[in-house]
């Protein structure tokens, strides 16, 4: 059997799943977003769903909110993850314990984390009650709105909490495989600690940080459950908005939901492209 054939055969099962489920789903979604849904008698494709989406003010607010959530979560968790990796790669007493605790919440599902956030940070949650108990505020409802709030602080906190170890583990493995010799060279050539980090370590770990943070960005931009649980009602994140349209009693709203899903996919692809281009120039140039 030729190598080519072998590779094709080995790839086939995975490719079938990806092509059938992903592109198949995408194709059906695309057709419906063009108002093509023979089951309910829609057989003339048009762009009216997209028109509805782009003329809806809520869509733009939702987009801004979703971008804010994804961008802020990605940037903050990347920075904190790099900091954590810098500490964790050092040798200190109890490192393995700290390392274990650091990675512990990788195993906790997002939903469980979100419910934890609700219990702790909502205006009827533990922190609000404690603050009232200690007379920091008069009653629990005066606790700052960190959940269901317009700035999506609760959502971002939840994402940061969950994504720091994810990015951190990748970056730490990256740093350990690079070793410290490049930094030694830089120091001996006259670079300060900060310069060594900025001009040597950061560019070296950059590909790892980039791929991890792109995954986080794509996930947080398209994820539904956390904004649905912790987000404000209006404006809602794009995936929440799309789902609402999809589950609308009016079947005619479905093309609009599909159009929104397609737009979410295209937007994340474009934003990831811009992010990669821009950050590569900044870090390595």
């Amino acid at each position: 059997m030729s190598d080519r054939l072998k590779i094709t055969l080995l790839l086939l099962p995975a490719m079938l799943i990806i092509v059938l489920l992903f592109f198949g789903g995408l194709a059906i979604g695309l057709m419906r977003s063009f108002n093509y849904m023979p089951v309910i008698g829609l057989t003339e494709p048009d762009l009216s769903a997209y028109f509805l989406v782009f003329t809806d003010r809520e869509f733009y607010l939702s987009f801004l909110l979703t971008f804010h959530i994804a961008f802020t979560s990605t940037v903050i968790s990347s920075i904190l993850a790099i900091g954590a990796a810098l500490l964790l790669r050092r040798n200190f007493v109890g490192r393995s314990i700290v390392n274990f605790l650091f990675q512990l919440n990788l195993t906790v599902p997002h939903l469980v984390g979100a419910i934890g956030m609700l219990y702790l940070f909502s205006q009827s949650g533990s922190f609000a009650r404690l603050a009232a108990e200690w007379n920091l505020i008069a009653k629990p409802s005066q606790f700052p709105a960190l959940v269901f709030d317009p700035y999506a602080i609760g959502i971002i906190l939840q994402y940061i909490w969950k994504e720091i170890p994810f990015i951190g583990v990748i970056v730490l493995a990256n740093m350990q495989s690079i070793g410290e010799d490049y930094e030694s060279v830089a120091r001996s050539l006259g670079a300060s600690r900060w310069q060594t980090f900025r001009h040597v370590l950061l560019p070296l770990i950059f590909p790892g940080v980039l791929s991890a943070s792109v995954m986080v960005f794509a996930f947080t931009f398209g994820a539904y459950e956390i904004p649905a649980l912790l987000g404000a009602n209006y404006p809602a994140a794009l995936p929440v908005l799309a789902y609402r349209k999809y589950t609308d009693v009016d079947l005619a709203a479905r093309p609009e939901a599909m159009a929104m899903a397609i737009i979410i996919a295209i937007l994340s692809a474009v934003m990831i492209y811009i992010y990669i281009r821009y950050s590569r120039r900044r870090i390595r140039g």
Partner: protein, 347 residues
């Protein structure tokens, strides 16, 4: 122009029972090229890292022109280290690699460009500035690493096994380049190596470190002619050691007397001589001419090694293959041990 002085430098790694480096003391005069020679794990690289400030010593001191530098940060010591595997920054062009140290000093970009151009000329890579390190051969990478170090005009240059990753024909080219640049710029240079040949061809002086202790610090020739002890002699390829007693200029060996030159260690001790210094079939009346029995003959291409028996002693000699053509184990030959090539170990 920096005189480097290492005083009782000791390093014990956390958790280790034995020191990796045990009270090393060394004076390296301004502008000299010194080799730290020793097998892997003997503490050479540890020593370099302590000089460069990448590792803190357990005790001892390093001074430059009399001033201790141990409290200085690595970037302020004026010491640059070139690593064995070059460690060029992979995402930067060759020119950016060379200019790195100047950029960190916030020098004007136009001036950096000019100096990088000069450096590229100096290391004979004038057209490769735009390439990425991955597009260079090992020898070229080595030169870029050297240029990147020299451009910051260090007071002290540290080289980690500078020739060991190079092919044989590149080694001499690189040796000449390192020596000429070092002489031209007068930089006090220390390099470490496990290869005695590399130490001998490159260094003004060699410090031999075995088991974390310095055995001998001398010019290269001395290690062949006047080794301090058997381990040192063996490290440099010494094979012949005979126990006996020296009185005046006479050595009493198991098979008879040998004539020595004056001034050697007296009393009972070990006599040594280099396998390449034994003469074959010379003048029968010359001093120290003896009968020897060939025990084995090993052809090594450009030379032949003979294992001889003189009385009860084993003697190894290295000779020209054409000089021993036709001889085979069991034959008797006449060998001469010239008195000026005989040496009593001092410890």
């Amino acid at each position: 122009m920096t005189h480097v002085s290492i005083k009782e430098l000791t390093k014990v790694y956390p958790g280790a029972s034995e020191p990796s480096l045990d009270r090393l003391s060394l004076e390296i005069p301004t502008g000299e090229l010194t080799a730290l020679l020793g097998p892997s794990g003997c503490g050479k690289t540890t020593t370099m890292k302590m000089i460069a400030g990448l590792l803190d010593p357990t005790s001892g001191d390093v001074t430059f022109d009399g001033r201790s530098i141990l409290k200085d940060k690595p970037e302020n010591r004026g010491v640059v280290m070139v690593f064995q595997n070059y460690l060029l920054f992979p995402y930067m062009s060759v020119a950016d690699n060379i200019g790195f140290g100047l950029k960190m000093r916030k020098m004007d970009p136009a001036e950096i460009k000019r100096r990088v151009g000069e450096m590229l000329e100096l290391v004979k890579l004038p057209d490769l500035g735009k390439r990425k390190p991955s597009a260079l051969s090992g020898g070229q990478q080595q030169r870029v690493a050297l240029a990147r170090a020299l451009i910051v005009q260090p007071n002290v240059l540290l080289l980690d096994e500078p020739l060991s990753n190079l092919d044989a024909h590149l080694r001499f080219e690189m040796r000449d380049l390192i020596r000429s640049l070092q002489q031209e710029m007068g930089i006090t240079t220390i390099f470490v190596t496990h290869d005695q040949e590399e130490a001998v061809v490159l260094a003004d002086r060699v410090a031999l470190i075995l088991d974390g202790c310095m055995k001998q610090y001398d010019n290269a020739e001395a290690f062949y002619k006047r080794p301090v002890d058997e381990a040192t002699a063996r490290f440099f390829g010494g094979q012949n050691f005979m126990s006996g007693t020296t009185r005046g200029t006479v050595f009493e060996a198991s098979f008879g007397q040998l004539q020595l030159v004056e001034g050697l260690n007296q009393g009972s001790g070990v006599l040594t001589f280099r396998p390449e210094n034994v003469l074959l079939n010379g003048d029968p009346s010359a001093p120290n001419t003896l009968e020897a029995n060939i025990a084995d003959k090993i052809y090594l291409g450009t030379q032949t090694r003979l294992k001889l028996r003189i009385g009860q002693e084993n003697v190894d000699i290295i000779t020209n293959p054409s000089d021993v053509e036709g001889l085979s184990p069991g034959d008797l030959i006449r060998v001469t041990l010239p008195p000026q090539t005989l040496w009593m170990l001092t410890s």
